[in-house]
Symmetry: none
Subunit: 276 residues, 2 copies
DNA sequence: AAACAGCGTTACTGTGTGCGGAACAACCCC
DNA sequence: GGGGTTGTTCCGCACACAGTAACGCTGTTT
C-alpha cells in the first residue's frame, strides 16, 4: 500500500519533477543547475535567474551553487556576484573526450547495424599510415564476410581505408599520397593517384565510401567515418559482404550505415549542423 | 597516529570534509563522485570501487550514480554494470571552453605562432593561485612538446607561470609568495624567494619570461602575458619545445611571441603606448 | 555441478538534513 | 533617499536520504 502522501501543508505548484525510481532528488536538481549553464547562451547566471528558469526556490539554488563551488564545478565572481562554470567542468569534459574508447561506444551500434543489414559490421581505427580492424559483428547466416582484427591495411584500398583518407586534412592526405606508389592488392585496387584524388573528393562529398574487391577479391563494402568534435575521423564503420549479393544491397546498407555513424559522431561531440 | 598529513597540503585526500557553512553535503558527495571519474586513470568504475575510494557506502554511491545518470552526466554499460562519464560531462567541458573568450580570440594567433617558430604554442589562464593550459597548437614535426590541458600548475615554476606572477599587482604577488615555501618541481625550480623576486622584476622589465626545465625536466619555454585594458594579465601565451634544441631558438621565439601577444593585448583593449 | 565470492541492486526504518517562506542586506537606478 | 532589484541568511518542521543488511546475479573455483 503506497500511502506515502500524507497531506502536507500545500506545497503549491509541485512541478512534478520525475524521479526515476531510486534516485536522489537533490542531486538531480544540482545536475539540472549544472546543465543549465551548458544550455543557456549566457556566460554567467544569477541565483534568481536560475531559480526561475528551473522552478526552484532561491534558497535551494544558492545552496546548490555553494556546494558545487566548493568542488570547483562552479565559479563565483565576487565583484558581480554572478556564477559561471568552473575549471572542474572542463576537467570533466576533457576526461570524457580522452577516455572514450570508440570501440566500447560503437559496439552496440555495430550489433544494430549488422542486424538491420544482415551483413558484417566492422570498426577500424588508424595508426599512422595504416588502418586496423578493432571490432566486428557478423550476421547469423551461412555465407558471410569476416575480417582479421589487428592486421594493418594501407589507406588507399577498400572502403574503410578510403573513408579514413578522405576525411583527413589535405595535408595528411597529400602526405600519404607522397609516400610512394599505390600498391595494388587486387586487380581492382586504385593505383592511379589522380583517380584516387577524384574518388576521395567524391567520398567527402557523399559522406561515405564504397569498394568492390579493391582490397580483397570477392569482398564488397561501404564505409563512413565517426567524427569527433574537431571533425576529425576517430574511427570508421563499415558494412561488408560477399560481392555477388552486395551490389543489390548497397543502397540499403549505405542508409543504415549513415544512420549509425551519425549517432556515433554525435556521441563523440561532432555537431553536424555546424559544419555539414 | 599516521603522520601523513605533514607538509604537502595539495593532494590531501584526508577525510577532512570541509563544509563551507551552508552547502549541501549530498551535492558535494555527488560532485566528488563525478570528479573521481575525471581524476582516476581508469575509464570505467564500479560502485564498490568508488565507494571505497571516497569512503562512502555502496548504497549512497549507487543512488548518486542513478541520479547523475538520469541527467546524462554518467552512463551505465548495461552489460558490464560499470559506470563512465556521459555526454553531459562533455557538454559541460565544451561549454566552459566556449566561454573563455580569450581562447577564441587567441586560437588563430597560436596557429600562426606555432608555424613561425615550428614549436608548440600554448595558452594558459589563471584560477586563483594556479594556472592551467586551456589550448595548445603543436607543429608538424616528430619531436615536440605537448602539455596536458586542464591540470593545475603553481605560479612560480615555468615560463608561463612566472609570466603570470610577474604581471600581477604587488599585493597579489606578495600574497602568493606568503602562502608557503616554493615547492620544487624539478632540480631547476626557483625555490629562493629573494631570487624569484629579482627574476620577476626582470620579467616585468623585459616583457617576457623564460624557463629551462623549471617546471618539467627536458622542457624549455618562453612566455608573455596578454594584457587587458587595465593592464592585467588575462592569459599567458608560451612557445615551448625540447630543451636540447630550444636554446638555439630562444631569440627567434621571443620575437615571434611578443609580436603575437602585442596583437592579442591590443585586441583585449590594452594600449601599450599609454603605459607600456 | 555445486558451492563460493564478489558484484550491483533493493528494502526498510530512524534521524539527521535539506526544504521553503520570509526576513535581511547590499546594491542599482531613477 | 525611496522603490525595486538582487544575493544571502535564518529557522523549525517534515520528509527524504543514509546506513545496514539482505537479495539476486554472474563468473570463477573446487
Amino acid at each position: 500500500m503506497p500511502t506515502k502522501n500524507a497531506g502536507t501543508a500545500t506545497s503549491g505548484k509541485a512541478p512534478a519533477r520525475e524521479n526515476s525510481g531510486q534516485a536522489i532528488a537533490t542531486v538531480e536538481r544540482a545536475a539540472d543547475v549544472l546543465m543549465h549553464f551548458a544550455e543557456t547562451p549566457s556566460n554567467t547566471l544569477g541565483v534568481t535567474e536560475i531559480a526561475e528558469a528551473l522552478g526552484m526556490s532561491k534558497a535551494a539554488v544558492h545552496r546548490i551553487l555553494a556546494s558545487l563551488r566548493v568542488r570547483g564545478l562552479i565559479e563565483l565572481d565576487q565583484s558581480t556576484r554572478r556564477y559561471s562554470l568552473g575549471v572542474g567542468a572542463m576537467r570533466l569534459g576533457l576526461a570524457y573526450l580522452d577516455r572514450i574508447d570508440v570501440r566500447r561506444i560503437a559496439a552496440p551500434e555495430l550489433v544494430t547495424l549488422s542486424q538491420r543489414t544482415d551483413e558484417t559490421a566492422t570498426l577500424s581505427i588508424r595508426t599512422g599510415n595504416y588502418r586496423i580492424y578493432v571490432d566486428q559483428v557478423t550476421p547469423a547466416r551461412e555465407v558471410i564476410m569476416s575480417v582479421n582484427l589487428g592486421v594493418a591495411h594501407p589507406l588507399h584500398a577498400g572502403a574503410s581505408s578510403k573513408a579514413f583518407l578522405a576525411f583527413l586534412t589535405e595535408e595528411e592526405m597529400e602526405n600519404y599520397l607522397s609516400l610512394g606508389a599505390l600498391e595494388p592488392l587486387t586487380g581492382n585496387t586504385i593505383v592511379d593517384k589522380a583517380r584516387l584524388r577524384r574518388e576521395l573528393a567524391s567520398i567527402r562529398e557523399g559522406g561515405y565510401a564504397q569498394s568492390f574487391s579493391e582490397r580483397m577479391s570477392g569482398a564488397a563494402s561501404v564505409a563512413a567515418p565517426i567524427l569527433d568534435h574537431h571533425g576529425r575521423p576517430v574511427a570508421v564503420v563499415s558494412v561488408c559482404g560477399p560481392v555477388e549479393r552486395f551490389r543489390a544491397e548497397v543502397g540499403e546498407c549505405v542508409a543504415r550505415l549513415l544512420e549509425s555513424t551519425a549517432r556515433l559522431s554525435a556521441q563523440m561531440g561532432w555537431n553536424a549542423s555546424e559544419r555539414g
